[in-house]
């Protein structure tokens, strides 16, 4: 009597598209919340050396509270209580600086429990159900550190909502049901076969008899609730499986070492081969292990560190590693999201293009450009498509396709919109923020705003630089700002949207500044020269290593694992990114874990 109703809608929307070949594609789309405003407890340790200690001291108000709070355009890098961490870092800096730590392996390296990140979750769901499930932004964005430290109510509710809706849609018609089960639903043996295959795939290892029995019970209960229908049983299995801890978390129970293990590692344990397979695949692909890794696990080959590194190399050289490298640089190293940049002309769409530019850039450097750390800051090329080029006003690209280009005046990561727009204010540049972000993210310095990050009201009678200089002149400001401002000023040749500019409020811009708090402290005429200094900085390289450690090992690994860090810094001596990433799989932290129950 009424018109056909629109399909059920939740805030996580499913769209079924028939690709004509009879294969059903379920697209799982939701409105993604902003990536900023979530506190991260990541705080890279201050760089070694007396320098950072000196900063803390002279900043005075610095160390205690660093409540920078959430800024648009950036995932929050601070929160309350960071003062404590900073304080510890500040104290420890000197100690960590020198090579005085003993690596006698008294305690096994930590192994925090990893929860799947958003990209990992999506890849894992696709792995269980097949490529025809397309999941996009189904869950809230989180920092990597959050994945090893806790989980919020909202995220648990989101897991529930996604599992519920996906299970419903996956069993809503015969064709999809058969695709999901992998066999003819009416056949007697099909449900059990489906359960075994689904649980094994979801748990990323062979299922135990108890686990299979558990899920047979889930199936039967679901079928009963659905009036005996097989579809209802499958729906229950899917819904429970996608919320199970063995799916959402990379649970490790570990195994004892061989009797002839290195005496240094007495009392330690190691991941089981399947657990090692997951360590490798989630680090390098944000995804569950592929069949080759699973075979290497099943045969026990992954117990050999040599096999581990071989597989690591295979994974890194595979195209599936590229999104991970992009994600590392954008979300862990720089932690910028231009899609929420303060300048309103940088819309979410433009911000996405900027992310693509930087993503393509770091991918090019890493996989086609020699994988050289220095190149991240000094490479002459970048990437454009027509719309982004039009936005920047540099006319170097047309059409939708992305091309590698060279643009006058721009070189390296920090002359790209993703960094510049995310570290600006709505209507002016924000040099102190840019300076602070460079020092914190790239040099791992602790720079505090004393609890707030005030912004000057725009003043058309002078340049932003002049205004900032005047405002930060007083002695209790200058201690910190004399280190932050020179760095930030080098970017004054770019406006709040990341476009090139030669004037500010009608006055010529002055981009002279300096790199501070580093082994390459020295003057820089502009952002290009600043980045040349960063590219040459050993402190910057060490900081980069710390970021990879956080990314790979979670939480406070960069401060905890001094032995592994030393080995990684050595591997990164030449600045080769590929070497560094592969070296991540050779450390004690990666190869070992505490014995069970610790």
């Amino acid at each position: 009597m009424r018109d056909a109703f629109p399909p059920p809608r939740t805030s996580l929307t499913f769209v079924a598209r028939n690709h004509g070949s009879g294969v059903w594609v379920l697209a799982l789309a939701a409105v993604a919340p902003f990536a900023c405003g979530r506190s991260s407890d990541h705080r890279p340790a201050p760089s070694a050396g007396a320098g950072s200690g000196g900063v803390s001291g002279s900043a005075g108000s610095g160390v205690g509270g660093d409540g920078m709070g959430a800024e648009a355009g950036m995932p929050s890098t601070a929160g309350t209580g960071k003062g404590g961490t900073a304080g510890v870092g500040g104290t420890g800096a000197a100690g960590e600086g020198g090579a005085t730590e003993s690596c006698d392996g008294a305690t096994a390296p930590a192994a925090p429990l990893f929860r799947l990140g958003r990209a990992q979750y999506e890849n894992s769901v696709r792995d269980v159900f097949g490529d025809w499930v397309v999941a996009a932004d189904a869950l809230p964005a989180e920092t990597d550190t959050a994945l090893t430290s806790g989980v919020t109510q909202a995220t648990v509710a989101a897991y529930h909502a996604v599992a519920h809706d996906l299970a419903l849609q996956a069993t809503s018609d015969e064709a999809t049901l058969e695709l999901v089960m992998g066999c003819e639903p009416g056949e007697a043996a099909c449900p059990d076969a489906f359960i075994e295959q689904a649980v094994t795939r979801a748990f990323r290892r062979p299922a135990t008899d108890d686990e299979l029995a558990d899920f047979v019970a889930v199936f039967e209960n679901g079928a009963r609730l659905g009036g005996g229908a097989v579809a209802s049983g499958v729906r229950a299995v899917v819904e429970v499986l996608l919320q199970a801890p063995e799916f959402l978390y990379r649970v490790e129970v570990g195994e004892p070492l061989d009797a002839d293990a290195d005496p240094r590692t007495v009392g330690w344990a190691r991941p089981t081969p399947y657990e090692m397979a997951s360590r490798l695949s989630y680090l390098l692909w944000d995804a569950p292990p592929d069949d080759e890794l699973l075979d290497a696990a099943g045969s026990g080959a992954l117990r050999e560190p040599g096999t581990v590194v071989e597989q690591a190399a295979r994974l890194f050289d595979d195209v599936r590693a590229r999104p991970v490298v992009r994600r590392f640089h954008l979300d862990e190293l720089l932690a910028v999201d231009p899609r929420v940049a303060p300048d309103p002309t940088v819309t979410a769409e433009i911000g996405a293009l900027m992310r693509e530019e930087t993503g393509a850039f770091v991918e090019e450097v890493t996989f086609n450009g020699g994988a050289d750390f220095r190149s991240l800051f000094t490479a002459r090329y970048t990437f454009r498509n027509g719309p982004l080029s039009a936005f920047y006003g540099d006319g170097v690209a047309q059409g939708d396709a992305w091309t590698r280009v060279e643009v006058n005046g721009r070189r390296g990561l920090l002359t790209q919109g993703a960094f510049l727009a995310a570290t600006a204010a709505a209507d002016t540049t924000f040099p102190t923020r840019r300076g602070r972000v460079v020092l914190e993210r790239l040099l791992c310095s602790v720079v505090s705003g004393g609890g707030i990050e005030p912004r000057l009201a725009p003043d058309p009678s002078r340049t932003t630089r002049e205004g900032v200089s005047a405002a930060t002149e007083p002695p209790n400001c200058a201690g910190c700002h004399s280190l932050v401002n020179p760095v930030g000023f080098t970017f004054e040749g770019f406006d709040s949207a990341g476009r090139v500019r030669t004037t500010d409020n009608g006055f010529p811009v002055d981009t002279s500044g300096a790199l501070t708090i580093s082994d390459q402290t020295g003057p820089a005429a502009d952002a290009v020269e600043l980045q040349a200094l960063i590219g040459d900085s050993e402190d910057a390289k060490r900081c980069y290593v710390r970021h990879w450690m956080t990314f790979a090992y979670g939480g406070s690994a960069a401060t905890d694992e001094s032995c592994s860090r030393g080995a990684l810094e050595e591997a990164f001596a030449s600045g080769n990114i590929r070497e560094l990433v592969l070296a991540l799989t050779r450390t004690d932290r990666f190869l070992y874990r505490p014995a069970e129950g610790q």
Binding site: M1, R2, A4, F5, P6, P7, P8, R9, T10, S11, L12, T13, A30, V31, P33, P112, L113, R115, P140, G150, V151, T152, Q153, A154, T155, V156, A157, A158, H160, A161, H164, D165, L168, S172, D214, V218, N221, G222, L225, G226, G227, S232, A236, E239, V240, Q243, A244, P245, E246, L248, Y249, V251, V253, P594, E596, G597, Q598
Partner: protein, 445 residues
């Protein structure tokens, strides 16, 4: 075989009460229009209209000057139990109700447009249809129109300006016929909900999930156990929220004594009676009310109208020992104040019941009424003169920051401005509604 799955327990209902909401919810982002900022924050989400025939009895509606209580009068005292949830409006005139004396009131009530020529319909959309389009993510049923004992008298069970309140928000503003058959309505709203609808399925699934965390947690080291325990805490909170959400289909009582199509068998003068159907009005009214409320709670819709009869009012009220027609007591037999007061008091009591039910539905930390605006009224005020000044209007609910628990007195305010004020509660920033000649600025509620 229906092509669409019924909309089950709402994810929104779960996420809303979860504290930190990470996923964008509909209704919080209005496309294009600037948000009206209300003291209390979020815009209203649900709009309900309840219509009763026969206007009111003004002298029993407005409290005496000696009565301090804003519900003082005979009729409004029926709202005592829900006094904190109702906002009584005095001094609002339906200035756009120009046309046939009854029809114009029906046409204008939700549209604020002039009928003009008798027999014609509205020249604009009704407010409920407009509000239904605000939702960014429309529910399965955009609007729900339910009617009890409909189409009496001259309308003879057909769509007519005598008996239609809702007009489409599309060119032509087509009249929308209400649904009449309680059994068909029940089947449509709730019939295809799987046996495991709502809490039974969710409880069972979450039980299984919780079990996995509990048993795995016990086998892990302290640090990992703490992590899974934290997750478990959130799961348990989720369980509680789901248990609290009240999406359970209402019981389909026996209405076999009620003929929803009784209007087809009408006489212009009400001389054809259907006493069994009339006698069933209270229980069918309650059933319709319950279905409406649960349709909201289960997120089947966000906008609903409950219409009792029509402007012809050719029905009897045996349960009130009134065996002549309502039309007789209003007009046909001369204006009978006592009987009309009794009838209006009864309807006010049904309105109170609707409000009460909405206040009892837990949507996860707040009630259905908290996020709703209910509009109660009739198509005229005075049945003898057909006057449409000082309309018997009551609002209920707390949606959009509406503050009830009082009365407001206006000085010949236009009800067009009431309609726009209601729209503002839903985050729609318009300043006029309906015929511009009778609209100036939204009433301050």
């Amino acid at each position: 075989m229906r092509s669409v799955k019924p909309f089950r327990l709402s994810r929104r209902a779960v996420l809303r009460g979860a504290g930190t909401v990470a996923i964008a919810l509909p209704w919080l982002e209005i496309m294009g229009e600037p948000r009206v900022s209300r003291a209390q924050g979020a815009p209203a989400r649900r709009f309900v209209t309840m219509y009763q025939p026969g206007g009111s009895v003004l002298e029993s509606w407005v409290p005496l000057s000696t009565e301090p209580d804003f519900l003082g009068s005979t009729i409004l005292s029926a709202l005592s139990a829900v006094r904190d949830h109702v906002l009584v409006l005095h001094g609002v005139d339906m200035k756009s109700a120009l046309g046939e004396q009854n029809q114009a009131g029906m046409v204008a009530l939700l549209t604020g447009t002039v009928q003009g020529t008798a027999g014609t319909f509205a020249k604009g959309p009704s407010l409920d249809q407009v509000l239904a389009k605000i939702a960014e993510s429309p529910p399965p049923i955009p609007t729900l129109e339910l009617a009890v004992r409909w189409g009496t008298g001259k309308a003879k069970g057909a769509v007519s300006p005598i008996d239609i309140l809702n007009f489409a928000d599309s060119p032509g503003f087509a009249p929308i016929a209400p649904r009449l058959d309680p059994v068909a309505i029940w089947n449509d709203l709730f019939g295809e909900m799987p046996q495991d609808a709502g809490t039974a399925w969710d409880r069972s699934m979450l039980d299984a999930v919780v079990g996995r965390y509990t048993s795995l947690s016990a086998r892990l080291g302290a640090a990992d156990r703490a992590r899974l325990d934290e997750h478990l805490t959130h799961l348990r909170a989720l369980e509680q929220e789901l248990a609290a959400v009240s999406c359970v289909p209402p019981e389909l009582i026996d209405t076999s004594d009620y003929d929803p199509a009784a209007g087809l068998n009408s006489a212009d003068d009400g001389s054809i009676r259907d006493v069994p159907t009339d006698s069933a009005i209270p229980k069918v009214g309650r059933l319709m009310t319950e279905m409406l409320v649960l349709a909201l709670a289960c997120d089947r819709t966000n906008v609903a109208t409950l219409q009792f009869v029509d402007s012809a009012a050719q029905y009897t009220l045996p349960w009130l020992d009134l065996n002549d027609t309502h039309a007789c007591y209003m007009n046909d037999c001369g204006y009978r104040v006592a009987e009309c007061t009794t009838i209006c008091s009864w309807y006010a009591g049904e309105f109170a019941h609707l409000v009460q039910r909405m206040s009892e539905i837990d949507m996860g930390g707040h009630s259905l009424l908290d996020e709703s605006v209910v509009f109660y009224g009739s198509h005229l005020q005075n049945v003898a003169t057909h006057m449409k000044q000082s309309m018997p209007f009551v609002l209920a609910g707390h949606g959009g920051g509406l503050v009830p628990g009082r009365a407001l007195t206006f000085d010949h305010a236009s009800h067009n401005d009431l309609l726009s004020a209601i729209a503002n509660l839903f985050g729609d920033a318009r300043t006029t509604f309906g015929d511009a000649m009778y609209a100036s600025a939204p009433l301050v509620l």
